[in-house]
Point group: C2
Chain length 121, copies 2
DNA sequence: CAGCATCCTCTAGGATACTG
DNA sequence: CAGTATCCTAGAGGATGCTG
C-alpha cells in the first residue's frame, strides 16, 4: 500500500488512474488531445450526454491536478480556452493506444469507424 | 456517436475504456499481468479493500468480455486460477505505461516506490 | 458564453452472513 | 477455497434554472 496525500493506493497504476478515473475525464482529455484548444461549449457539445455540473466539475479537478490549463482569452464577451497541460500531455500514449485499440475492436465487430467516421458526428 | 450492442459511445477511446472502467478492473488486470496466474484469494488479498461482491462481479464481467480466463485446476479441494486472456493481454501497454507514469509521479512527489517497495506490501 | 447552485435519483459498491 | 445472497448507504452523476 502507498500512502499519499491522505489516500491509500494499491500500486503505482492505482496512482496513475486516480487522475483519470471518473466517467468523463478520459474523454475530455482525448478531445483536447485531438483539438488542442477548445472552448467550454465546444467540449460540452462534443460530449452530448454530459451535464453542465459534471463538465465544470471535471474540468476543475483536472485543472487542479494540472492535467489541463484554462486560459481566459477575452473578458467581454467572456471567452475561455482549455488545453492540455504538461501532465495531461503525458497521457497521450494512453489516448493513442486506446484509440487504436477501440478502432480495431470495432472493426473486428463489424464497425469501420475510420471509413464511416462522418456517420458518427 | 457510435452505436454498439445497445450502448452509445462518443469515440473509440470511449469503447476501449468501457472495458476497464470500474474501480477495480485495472488493478485486477495489472495484478494478473504481473503474476500471470492467480487464485481468487490471492487476488483478493492483494486488493485489501475490495469486497467479495465486487471481486467476483468484476471477475465475471471481465471473463464475459474475454479479458481474463478462469480455469478450474482441482475440484476437491476446489481451486481455480485466473489469468489474462488474449484481449486482456492486449491492454499490457497501458499497464506498463501507467505503472511507469505512477512511479515517476510518486518520485517527483518524494516517494521512491522502487527503492521502498518492501514497505508497500 | 461560461459557468454555479440546488435538488434529486439511482446505482456502484460495501458489510455481512451463508454455501458447496 | 471460492464464491452467493441480501440488504443498505454514500456519493457519483443528472435535471433544471439562474447569473455575470
Amino acid at each position: 500500500m502507498i500512502a499519499f496525500k491522505g489516500r491509500t493506493y494499491t500500486c503505482p497504476i492505482d496512482v496513475t488512474f486516480s487522475f483519470i478515473n471518473g466517467k468523463w475525464k478520459v474523454l475530455i482529455l482525448s478531445h483536447l488531445y485531438r483539438y488542442k484548444k477548445r472552448s467550454y461549449s465546444e467540449i460540452r457539445d462534443n460530449l452530448p450526454r454530459i451535464s453542465e455540473k459534471m463538465l465544470s466539475q471535471q474540468l476543475k479537478e483536472m485543472e487542479a491536478d494540472e492535467l489541463i490549463v484554462k486560459k481566459t482569452i477575452s473578458s467581454k464577451p467572456y471567452r475561455v480556452e482549455y488545453a492540455l497541460a504538461k501532465n495531461g500531455k503525458a497521457f497521450s500514449p494512453i489516448m493513442e493506444f486506446a484509440s487504436k485499440w477501440g478502432i480495431r475492436y470495432l472493426k473486428a465487430n463489424g464497425i469501420d469507424y475510420l471509413k464511416d467516421q462522418e456517420l458518427y458526428k
